[in-house]
């Protein structure tokens, strides 16, 4: 098992200071930091390998193509997808969801149909569906939750009517940390022949994801929340759906033959990768997956879980703190409020201690509306975080209380 101190030392940014204080980075649910090897992989790509892929016969192009396609295979293995044809590179989770919302709804959704999401979705798993529903004359329905931040699973059988064409749900809530019972939801939906998309943005860096075991029809995630570069993400989709869906964007690469009369499309996965792909960042993502594998997803999961528990314990001992999201199964995120202090006020002061937390609605306004709060303070963790950093957060919280309460 890798040593946590050694793991932390692999992240150059964690050595820097903010306002003359050591950086305490607890905003990992927004994006996490990159180990030296990922930064190096990007640097090496542009120094030694940069070339456009798939169409060049020259040495560099063939090398870059191989490197790019090797990452596709690596990702296939990482999430245990049956085929690398089912791995589509996107800009991130948001683009992956938009792709499915656009292509799936054009193909399968008609007036009066429904798309089912949950009450704790990130805006990226709400707005694309709203837009697609609007275009098709369909309706967006919502699985409700309770005050702990657990979905009301008993409402599911009724919500899964014959009108529902797809269920789109977060694996882990970015605002509350709840790990949703996605397998149960997928099983229930499949019993009625309804496909399910999982927004895995907050899950892949914390949990072992096996898309065959889940049997989800689509799974989306971002590279930058799993130690990889910004600007690259993944859509996994079952081949049977991806083959049927119309392309999302048109351009080079995604075609088979083009004339002014008619264009035929390329096969999977290229049908969905129009234009020059983000080769450099894909290669960086490959290195990030190697980092996760070398570190061990079990150690990553266990460290995250311990930090969440320790943080919640310290906050409750401190008093005057309301935890927002107290589900039994949580991952990576602690959302809370300090007495009646506005999260923006609290965040402004916490920042001055060199502590990076997120304050606000976390792009999940419906969640804040449900709890009738303007937002929360959110501390979120990665494998390099320490209990001492949580102690520093607590020092900052005490100052917030002294200033505002």
């Amino acid at each position: 098992m890798a040593d946590l101190k050694e793991i932390r030392s692999q992240f150059p940014i964690l050595k820097r200071k903010v306002y003359d204080k050591p950086l305490v980075y607890l905003d990992n649910a927004a994006t996490n930091q990159k180990p030296e090897r990922v930064i190096k992989a990007l640097d090496t790509y542009y120094r030694d390998q940069n070339s456009n892929i798939h169409r060049g016969v020259h040495y560099l192009s063939q090398n870059a193509t191989t490197a790019y396609e090797n990452v596709r295979e690596k990702i296939r293995a990482f999430i245990n997808a049956p085929s690398s044809k089912e791995i589509i590179f996107t800009r991130g989770t948001t683009e992956a969801i938009n792709l499915v919302a656009s292509s799936f709804c054009r193909k399968y959704v008609r007036e009066g149909d429904e798309i089912l999401v949950s009450a704790m979705e990130h805006h990226s798993n709400i707005v694309p569906w709203q837009m697609a529903c609007e275009a098709q004359g369909a309706k967006l329905k919502v699985i409700p939750m309770n005050l702990e931040g657990d979905l009301l699973m008993e409402t599911l059988p009724q919500l899964l009517s014959e009108k529902v064409k797809l269920v789109a749900i977060a694996h882990v809530s970015n605002a509350l940390g709840t790990i949703n019972p996605v397998k149960d939801i997928i099983d229930a939906a499949h019993e009625k022949g309804i496909p399910v998309l999982i927004d895995g943005a907050q899950a892949v860096a914390h949990l072992k994801v096996d898309v065959q075991d889940l049997d989800c029809d689509f799974y989306c995630f971002s590279g930058h929340k799993m130690y990889g570069p910004m600007g690259v993400g993944v859509l996994y989709g079952k081949e049977k759906y991806l083959n049927e869906l119309p392309p999302y964007q048109g351009g080079g690469e995604m075609i088979s033959e083009v004339s002014f009369e008619k264009t035929t499309y390329n096969e999977l996965p290229f049908k969905f990768e129009a234009g020059t792909p983000n080769v450099g960042d894909v290669i960086g993502l490959g290195e990030a997956i190697r980092f996760i594998q070398d570190t061990g997803i079990d150690l990553i999961a266990q460290t995250g879980e311990e930090l969440v528990k320790y943080c919640e314990k310290r906050l409750l001992e401190e008093g005057g703190i309301t935890l927002i999201g107290t589900a039994e199964n949580k991952s990576g995120v602690v959302s809370f409020l300090i007495d009646n202090v506005h999260p923006y006020d609290a965040g402004t002061i916490i920042d001055r201690f060199g502590v990076a937390v997120r304050t606000g609605h976390h792009c999940a306004q419906p969640v804040m509306d449900y709890f009738k709060i303007p937002g929360t303070i959110r501390a979120s963790f990665s494998v390099y975080n320490t209990k001492e950093e949580i102690d520093t957060l607590l020092v900052a919280i005490r100052k917030v209380k002294a200033m505002f309460c």
């Binding site: 506005h342 999260p343 923006y344 006020d345 402004t348 606000g360 303007p374 505002f404």
Partner: protein, 138 residues
């Protein structure tokens, strides 16, 4: 007059050596600003920031503009109080012609990022917008 009030604020802020004192002063300013009348807490008067809600209401007596403001975050309310102190009871033309350099000189931008999160920039924009509307009326 605006420049005099601005200069006085710069003077006050120059006495603080550290960020904590500046924030404490903003908190004091925020607390001392009377809450806006509930009837003015309308969608029309809201300045939508990313994190806190800010309301700014203006009235015009044909000569000068009066501002009231509020926010659910106290630091933001302090910023509103500070701007109201500078621009309150001034003629629309004075407001529109005012040199906004004092905002930088207050040294607030280095502590409050000039993003939409604290509403500083949006508040100034809204104050000028009111002045412009009243000028057209006058």
């Amino acid at each position: 007059m605006i420049q005099e009030k601005a200069a006085q604020l710069i003077d006050e802020f120059s006495m603080f050596d550290d960020w904590m004192d500046k924030y404490n002063y903003l908190i004091e300013l925020g607390k001392s600003l009377p809450s806006i009348d509930e009837k003015y807490k309308t969608d029309e008067n809201i300045i939508k920031g990313c994190q806190s809600r800010v309301w700014l209401h203006a009235s015009f007596d044909g000569d000068k503009v009066s501002f009231t403001g509020d926010s659910d975050a106290i630091i933001t309310k302090g910023i509103a109080a500070l701007l109201i102190r500078v621009f309150n009871e001034e003629a629309p033309a004075e407001i529109l012609n005012a040199d906004l350099g004092f905002v930088d000189q207050l040294g607030l931008k280095e502590h409050l990022s000039p993003t939409r999160s604290n509403g500083l920039v949006s508040m100034i924009k809204q104050i000028r917008f009111y002045a412009l509307a009243f000028q057209a009326k006058a």
